[in-house]
Every structure is written in C-alpha cells, then in structure tokens.
C-alpha cells in the first residue's frame, strides 16, 4: 500500500567533462556529412547515435562520417557504427567513413572495420563512392 513511491535512481557517474565531443552536420550534394570532433567514448556515443538516428528517421540513408577531427574512439563509439550499418544497408543506404586520423585508423584496422565499411580519404571521395553505387544501379 505504501510501496508506490519512486525509487531514487542511482547517481550516474559524472561524465568526464574534459573530453568533449561535438557532431556537426552539413550537406554535400544533398548527402548529410556528420563531422565528428573530439573523443567518441561511452559518454559521448549517445550524441553520435542520436545524430545518425535523426538522419535515418529523416529518410537520409546515405551518410558520411567525417572523422577529420576525431581524436579518439572507444569500443562504444565503434558500436554506434556497427549498430546502424546493417539496417541502413538493408534499406539501400550506407555509411561511408572518411578522413580518418592515423591513430583512429589503427583502431579501425585492428577491429577489421575496413572489411565492413568503405573508409576513404576525404569527403569528396565518399561522395564519389555514393555516386559510383548510384551508377551501378
């Protein structure tokens, strides 16, 4: 009878404020480019996830992730790429990754991402990849 009140949630660990991560969106030839800047880890991955989710919800299934300013990626960040790729491809879209810094590239390579994703040098190459696949169709 008196058991109905809320349970106070566990205090979430304070997110580390030192590591900042920003996703900014631009359009290139009608293709959304998400520029990732900073640390993509367990604390910041939800930001990236919601940015991709917004594109998918808006019907943009061709997405470019510009990793030019991405300085660190953790397994949680990698998980965001993995979680969307299958659904997007099934619906005829893709995520292209471009401008990856060497340190991040090393992480991608260790995990075997190049077998799964198109990883190219610049935004224009990524747009080119999308156009190729258009012509193939």
């Amino acid at each position: 009878m008196l058991l109905l009140w809320e349970k106070i949630p566990l205090n979430q660990e304070m997110a580390s404020l030192a590591n900042i991560f920003v996703v900014s969106r631009t359009l290139h030839d009608g293709i959304p480019v998400l520029a990732l800047d900073g640390f993509l880890d367990a604390h910041t991955a939800p930001n990236f996830e919601s940015a991709i989710q917004q594109e998918v919800d808006g019907g943009n299934l061709r997405i470019i992730a510009n990793c030019d300013k991405l300085t660190y990626i953790s397994s949680a960040g990698l998980g965001v790429f993995m979680s969307f790729i299958e659904e997007i491809r099934e619906r005829g879209g893709d995520i292209k990754i471009c401008s990856v810094q060497p340190k991040v590239m090393q992480v991608f390579e260790i995990l075997g991402f190049p077998a799964l994703f198109d990883i190219v040098t610049g935004v224009s190459d990524a747009i080119g990849k999308f156009q190729e696949s258009n012509q193939e169709r």
Partner: protein, 805 residues
Amino acid sequence: MRNRLIGAAACGVVGLAVLIALSGRVTPVPSAGFRADHDESVRRAREYAHDFGVDTAVWHSGSMSFLDNRLQFWLHRSAAQAAPNSIERMVTPLTSKVGFAAPAGSEKLFLTLTSQGDLLKFLRKDATPAKEPPPNPKEIALHAFRVLARDHAASFRLTTDGAPAPGATQYLWEADSSHPEDLTFSIRVTVGQEGLREASLTPNLTRRASEAFVRQKAGEDAVGGILLVFGFAMVGTSIALFAWGWFRGTLDRGAAIAVGAVYFLSKVLINVFASGSQRYLADEDLARFSALSLTVELVIFAVASMALVGAGESLARRGGRPCWHSFLLLLRGGFSFRQPAFSIFCGVLLGILLKAAAQATAWISPLFEWDQPSLESLSSPAPWLEPLLPPVPLGWLALFCLALPMMQHRLPLRRLRTPLTLLVVIVGVFTKAPYSASLGASALWALAVGALCYAIYRGWDLLTLLSAVFVYRLLEQALSLSVTESEALRFSAQLGFVLIGAVFVSSGFVLWRGRDAVLEELDASTVEPVSQRERLKSEFSTAREAQLRMLPAQPPDIAGFELAGMCHPARDVGGDLFDYARLPDGRHVICVADVSGKGMSAALYMTLTKGVLTAAVEGSDDLAEIAGQLNGHIYAAGRRRIFVTAALGALDPETRVMEYARAGHNPIVWRSPSRGFTRLVQPNGMGLGVGPVAIFNRTLELDRLELSPGDTLVFYSDGVTEAMDEVNEQFGEERLMASVDAAGDLPAQAVQDKILLDLSAFLKGSSPQDDATIVVLRALPLASGVDYAATLGENSSQSGDGKLG
C-alpha cells in the same frame, strides 16, 4: 535478536510488577472521581441553561477540559487538611467547559462545570435583548446564586447589591474558605436586559498561597524558554535539512511522505471524530478561529512531521541506519515482516517498563500530575481516539527522530556522543515532564524516562522506542481514565488496555509466523543513493569474485613452455578474459579476449564468450572454425552493439608452432632473441560480433609462428596499451615492446611483472582506466648440456627444473 527479545520480556515483567506494586501508593491523580465527560457535561449544561431560561436543544455544542494548575498546586499541598464536606470541595482544578452556539445569529452560551458536573460559570454572549428589562433582576440573581452556592449558601454574604453596569446590574457574594489567608470565594452575578448574563463562582487564591507556585512556575518557565529556543532551532534545522535532502534526493522521500500522511490523517480524524473541532466551539477565545486556522494547523502538522522524520532519516544514514531499518520497513507497508513486528513486540514490553519507571519516580518524589490525563480525552466525544491520534506526538517525534540521530550519528566528537545525546534526550524529555511540587521531582522523572528511552534506541531500535512511547502514553491515559467516575471514560480506558494487548498479540503473532525481510527488502527501505551504492557494491564484489573464479587459477603445464596470466578489472567486474584450453588434437589454446564496453554488461558478455569458447574447442581442431563459431554466437547475441575482440593461439609444444588468429584484437608481441626481433603480429581479422559470418570468415587470416627456445609471446588487452597518464598520453605498443625487451630472458611471470611495473610507473600510481589483461607465453631456452629432444621426453614436473630461476 533472541537476547534482545529476552531482555525486553524481562523488562516487561519487571515493569508490570512495579506497576502492580505501586498501584494505590502514589498521589491521587487529578482525574480521580471525574464525572463530567463530554456527554455528561453537555447534558448538565443544557439543564442549567434551561433552568436560566435558555433553550439550547437545537444549538451546536462543544466541550473542552481545563486544569487550573495553581489551584491544583494549592489543593495538593493542603489536601490533608481539607475535610470531605469543606467549602474547598465546591471547586475542582479540573473543569469542563461547554460552549453552545445558536443555529442562526451569533448568540453563544458558555458554561463551566466542576469535574462533578456542578455549575461554576454561566456566560451568555450576543443575546438579543428583550424590549423591556426584566421586572425582577434581583430574583434572577438570587436564583443563580443559589444554584452556584449549592450547600454552602450560608457561608456567603452579599457584598454588592445591585451595582449598575453597562446595560446591566451586578451582584457580588463573598465567602472565606477553611484557610481564609490562602483562599476565598466570590460569586458574581450580572443581570442584563436579556435576563441572566453572567454568573460565576470563583476561587481566589491569595498572593501568599500562589507564591510557592509562582516560584516553581518561574523556574519551569526559564527552563521552558530555553527549551523553546532549542525546539525552534531544531524545527528550523530539520526543515532546512529536509528541503536540502529532498531536492538532492538524499533522503527517503517515501518514508517522509508516509509519516506526513499519517500525521495529517490523524489530525483530520481527531478533528472530525474527537475533541479537535470541539475546542473551537467551547472556547470563547478560540471561537473566532475558523476553518482556515484549522487547515493551517493541519498543513503545519503534516509538513513538520515529514520534515522531522525525513531529516532524521538522512542524518541517520551514516552509522545509524540499522536503528531505522524496521521503522522504514513498516512505513513502506511491511506489516507481515518479522523485523518491524519484533521492534513493536519489544516496544510494548519496554513501554510497560517506561511507565513503571515514571510511576516509581512519582512514588519517590511526589508529582501531582504523574498520571496527567490528556485534557482532550476527558472532554472528547471519542476519548479512546485521543492518545492514538497521532500515535506519537510531534514533540516526541522531534526528540527521537531528529535530535537523537543528529547527536548520536553526526556529532563530530565521537567520545562525547553518548553523554551529550543522553543529555539532550533527558532535557528533551523534561519538557514532557508532569507537573511537580518541585523541579527536582520533574528532573528525576525526566532522568529515568530519558535514560530509558536512550537505552531503548541503542539496545533495540527507533521503532521499538516509538512503540514504547506509544504504549507508555496509552497506559498513562488508560490508568488516569480508569479512576474517573464516568462510564464512557472508563470504557475508553479498558479499550486502551485491550489495544495494548492487541498490539502485543498481533506483533507477537507476526514475529512467530511472519517472514523475515530479506536483504533487498531491508535495503528497499534504504533507497538513498549512498546505501544503494553500498548494496550494489556488495553485489558487484560478489560478481567480481564469481568472475575471477572463471579465470584459470593456474596455467597448465606445457612441456618446454611456461605461462603466466593475469587480469585486473578496472571496476569491480570487467569485460576482459583470458583462458587456456586443450583442442582434441592435444594442442594448447591460449585466448585473451576483451568485450566492448565496461562494467556489468561487459562482464555478462565475457561469461558468454567463455562459455562459447569452452564449447567450441571441444568440437574442433580448426582455429578458424572456432573463431567463426565465436563470431556467430556473439554476432547473434550482441545485436551489433556489443563485440568482442580476441587473440587466439593454438600451440603445439612438440613442434613449437603456434597457430594464431586475431579477431579484431590488439596484435600480440613476439620477442625472439635468437632471431633478433621484437615485433607485433597482426594478421587480418574482424572483431567477434562486428560483422556477419561471411565477411568474418573471409577476412580472418591464420598466422603460423614458429617459436624458438627463449622466445616470448605477450597477449594483452587494450587496457594495457591504451592506459593513459595524466596528460592523456597512452602507454602504447612501443613502451610495451620496450618492457618485454627489457625483461630479457626472465621467466614468464617476471616478464608479466615487469610490464605491470613499467605500466604503473607510467601511470604514476593511478590505476588503469580499463581492464588490463596480460598473458605471457615463453618457450624455455634449452638448458646448457640438455638436449632439446631429451627435454621433450621428460614429464612436465621435470621440465620445470629446466626453468631459469
């Protein structure tokens, strides 16, 4: 629990024995012989009003009791001299006041009766005056005089015969008592245009008689003033603490709301069914108060009780938690649990002792109100409800739920905690002390009751203490009501005894047949983040132990090789794994795996990985197939959010060939002194669960490492290489390889220790942010003069002799 139960039972028995032994030996209580209960006084007041020409049959009525402390004090001192039929018997310190309000208009009537129901005062207010004054005011006054003077009319003499007053005529009679130097009586009658306006019999205590009382009173007032300041400070503190805790979420809001609700409801009930609203009808001064003041009182009551318990609970969080467990459990509706039942059961027994202790002090040093009946219950239409609502008065609640935990658990000076808390409790209890002929007697009472209360809190818990106070008050009520001459009040007293018995029996039954609240339920009553964190901490440490047991305790003996492995989770549980196994073809499998993410979810996938690996190595000799199976299961289970990286090696000790697959994992370090290199081995391979089976199988490469004696292989997780120092620089593969090089030809365990040493020096004492796992495999160098083939032929224990020390 058993000892405390026996202790409480012994206390109950002793208390009962003392109560029985003292019955009839203590000063008579003021309620002895009291007859004017609610119904009786209203009935009599109606009769008197009718006699004086006012018909109150359809008027609203209310009654209220008063105690004249000054008169009580004097009578108590001169009780021995007062003869049964003396004039002093005309007045009683306890009086009942009845108020009548006309259904229309503002006319009101107030009558005061002695505890025997005789008239002391008649007052008519706002009556519509008749067109003409009564023709015979003196007759009206004489009639009123006769009613008031009763058998003692002869003792009175008329001193003022018809003095004019505004719109009225006044008459005054005076009489001496058997102690005229102390007490005289006067009867004053005022007759106005409407008829009898006022008639009163007043006992006038002289200054001499009041002096002792005034001195005593001044002392108590001084103490009371200090306590009032103390009380206000406490309430202020509690509200501040409560608000702070409420908004920060560091107090048990539910418990506070439950207490607030109980107090609010009890105040509503008392106003609806018992004396509460009666007061407003019966009292001339209170009569102008309205529903608004009642509402304000209700809200203050609810907020204060909430704040007191809420703040107290948050104060008790550090150190005092066990004292609050059963109380909070009860507030959450845990009526069927044994813990609250135990506390209440013990509380009933200890409440009897509390009452006995109070009675004993009254016997040692007379307290003339030792069994102070609550004035509300004497005049209440439902007297039995009065001591129950609320179960524990706000003042006691403030003392036990706030002041006590504040002192006991939060006072910085630990050594002074017990004496100072005891002092605060005794001083706090003193404010509840019954009235006494001397401060010393009240202090003695407070000492006994306060010390016992403190002992109950420390020896049992808060709920026991609150139950004991509840029973104490109920007993006090029942004992004082049982000596009255009113049937209704005596019936209430019996109900009180029955109720104590019922609480005792029902809590005893739950204690006997109920179930124990398990840790979770006990802790559900301690939802505050700190303790929830503590609970999780204990669960995590259990999980940690379970997880560490999953890791191999000892490396297998492999002829010609030595192995050392360790895993250090960054948190209580981790997502790193290392394991050793045997393939059907006899090869030794070494696996280091790392689940993405940290904490509990990683730990769950780590268990999954361990399980799948164990199953896969039993059914296949092919490392690629084993890796493929792992990928399939984790891909299916992880839903593309969780992946696992793994380095898998299958070693044939005879050929010294290590087949090696890297599923997205950090490349292993291979140091070969004979060939003069230390390098990373990084064949292609995707993480387990990253991609579908086809892509995984297509990309996976197997490497064949032909090891030489003296070679070292280091499997590790990214917690080692990605460990960051304070300027966010990573330990990195270069430093790792340098460590392996620096370790040179040391044994496997020493290589591992060297890496850890270098890592901790790099981190400057702070621990790694991620799980760190290291497995070192070392091919034993050929001992000088020992043929390699011969070494192979020896059993493993003998091969141990070939190890370098």
